[in-house]
């Protein structure tokens, strides 16, 4: 099925790089590097130059911290979305928010995708997506409250839970009027999950792909990579790319990333090995 993300359409065989753009002073990886609006705008220019098809703009870090209310979240992202929309008409703009009111405002400003990293915490978000005919990322958090860390969370079967919850969320969105071709599911590594659970999600990602819904993975520099390799943030790129390769082989479609170029190369290489993508230019031995 063709994927439709707001005003943009992508054929079945396309994989997409969704570059993270934080309008936060405290996100775990960039630690506020793009907090200033101009720095965030420079980051957009950079990732577009690197070939990202999408940006994911967020105004609140995922981890617990200072309370950011709706007004402040809108102040951080709405005008910025409008500025990016005006500058990059062909770029897919996603906004990382769980709040319907923020979603409504960013869609007015030109967003194409609502990335609900907190799995439907605000039940009205689906109505906003339907109203604006934008895409919705349906994530699995195991019922976690926004901006909380997992604490002794257990599942009978974490993959089953991820499939059931994301597919049910997609069903709610569909019922609310979101277009079928505009729904994406995301197992949400590390959200409501310990490292073993995120590893199992990675290992069994093919089961999520088999649902037929396009799958987004957000692996970039996360703690399950850090704990697997005993490496701090900033030294997790190789581990991230290994996890990316496994997800690519399983058939993930969208990759939410800090490093666009490296991830694109891994995803393209894996899909070429898998026979889903042609080599760029093969002549060796075939002259």
């Amino acid at each position: 099925m063709t994927l439709r993300l707001g005003r943009h359409e992508f054929a079945d065989d396309r994989t997409l790089m969704m570059a993270i753009v934080n309008r936060t002073p405290d996100s775990f990886y960039d630690k506020g590097a793009t907090w200033a609006e101009d720095k965030a705008f420079d980051r957009v220019a950079q990732v577009v130059d690197e070939g990202a098809e999408m940006v994911d703009i967020g105004g609140i870090k995922a981890a617990p911290g200072e309370e950011i209310d709706e007004v402040e979240e809108k102040r951080r992202v709405v005008d910025f979305v409008a500025r990016v929309r005006a500058a990059y008409p062909s770029l897919v703009i996603s906004v990382d928010t769980w709040r319907a009111s923020v979603g409504d405002a960013v869609c007015e400003a030109g967003a194409d995708v609502l990335n609900d990293a907190w799995g439907g915490a605000d039940p009205a978000l689906v109505d906003v997506a339907a109203k604006h005919d934008v895409a919705l990322i349906c994530t699995h958090t195991g019922g976690a409250v926004p901006r909380t860390r997992p604490y002794r969370v257990e599942y009978d079967d974490v993959v089953r839970s991820a499939i059931d919850d994301t597919v049910a969320y997609a069903g709610r969105a569909l019922a609310a009027g979101v277009a079928r071709e505009s729904l994406v599911i995301d197992p949400a590594h590390d959200f409501g999950k310990n490292t073993f659970q995120s590893l199992e999600i990675t290992r069994r990602l093919g089961e999520m792909v088999a649902t037929g819904w396009p799958v987004l993975v957000s692996l970039s520099n996360k703690d399950f990579v850090g704990e697997s390799l005993d490496l701090p943030v900033g030294e997790r790129l190789t581990g991230t790319l290994a996890a990316t390769a496994v997800c690519a082989l399983a058939g993930a479609r969208i990759y939410r990333v800090h490093e666009v170029v490296e991830t694109r190369q891994v995803v393209d290489m894996v899909n070429t090995i898998a026979g889903r993508r042609l080599p760029a230019r093969a002549i060796r031995g075939l002259q």
């Binding site: 042609l278 080599p279 002549i283 002259q287």
Partner: protein
């Protein structure tokens, strides 16, 4: 009659995002189409597959006894990075073979040297009696250290 090189990159199963032999492919398909609705193939086993792919692309059926598609090419030793590495003798050999093809007279070709220089001449050798009169040269290049020609004879 038309001549195309037996380049495996012309096969659909070896397609790339960017065609490394786009110009050659265009010339070869045009030459095959020029043969008319049907043609017989004169080639070795690999060349047969290349011919089949080009005929598919050109919409030409196999058969008949008036039009021939010959598959063959010059040496594969024309540069340091050529499949057979550089052999300085390749240039003179290809030049002589080209002249012979254009003139329509293959009687003087050194077939044993052809083998030494990795020229694919099985089809050409078998087509010796079919080649007649001057050829039109549509393509003449060695982009990967292998000498390719697309030529047409007759009207």
């Amino acid at each position: 009659m038309a001549l195309v090189p037996g380049v495996l990159a012309l096969l659909p199963e070896h397609a790339s995002l960017v065609d490394p032999v786009a110009e050659l492919r265009a010339a070869a398909v045009a030459a095959v189409r020029w043969l008319g609705p049907e043609a017989s193939v004169v080639a070795d086993a690999q060349g047969e597959r290349v011919a089949a792919a080009l005929m598919d692309a050109a919409g030409v059926r196999r058969g008949g006894s008036t039009a021939y598609l010959v598959v063959g090419n010059g040496t594969a030793k024309r540069s340091e990075k050529a499949p057979g590495h550089l052999d300085d003798r390749a240039f003179a050999f290809d030049s002589a073979l080209r002249d012979a093809l254009v003139a329509g007279d293959l009687s003087g070709v050194d077939w044993s040297l052809a083998e030494e220089l990795w020229a694919s001449v099985d089809g050409l050798r078998r087509a010796t009696d079919l080649v007649a009169g001057p050829a039109t040269v549509d393509y003449d290049d060695d982009p990967y250290g292998v000498q390719y020609w697309v030529m047409r004879w007759g009207s």
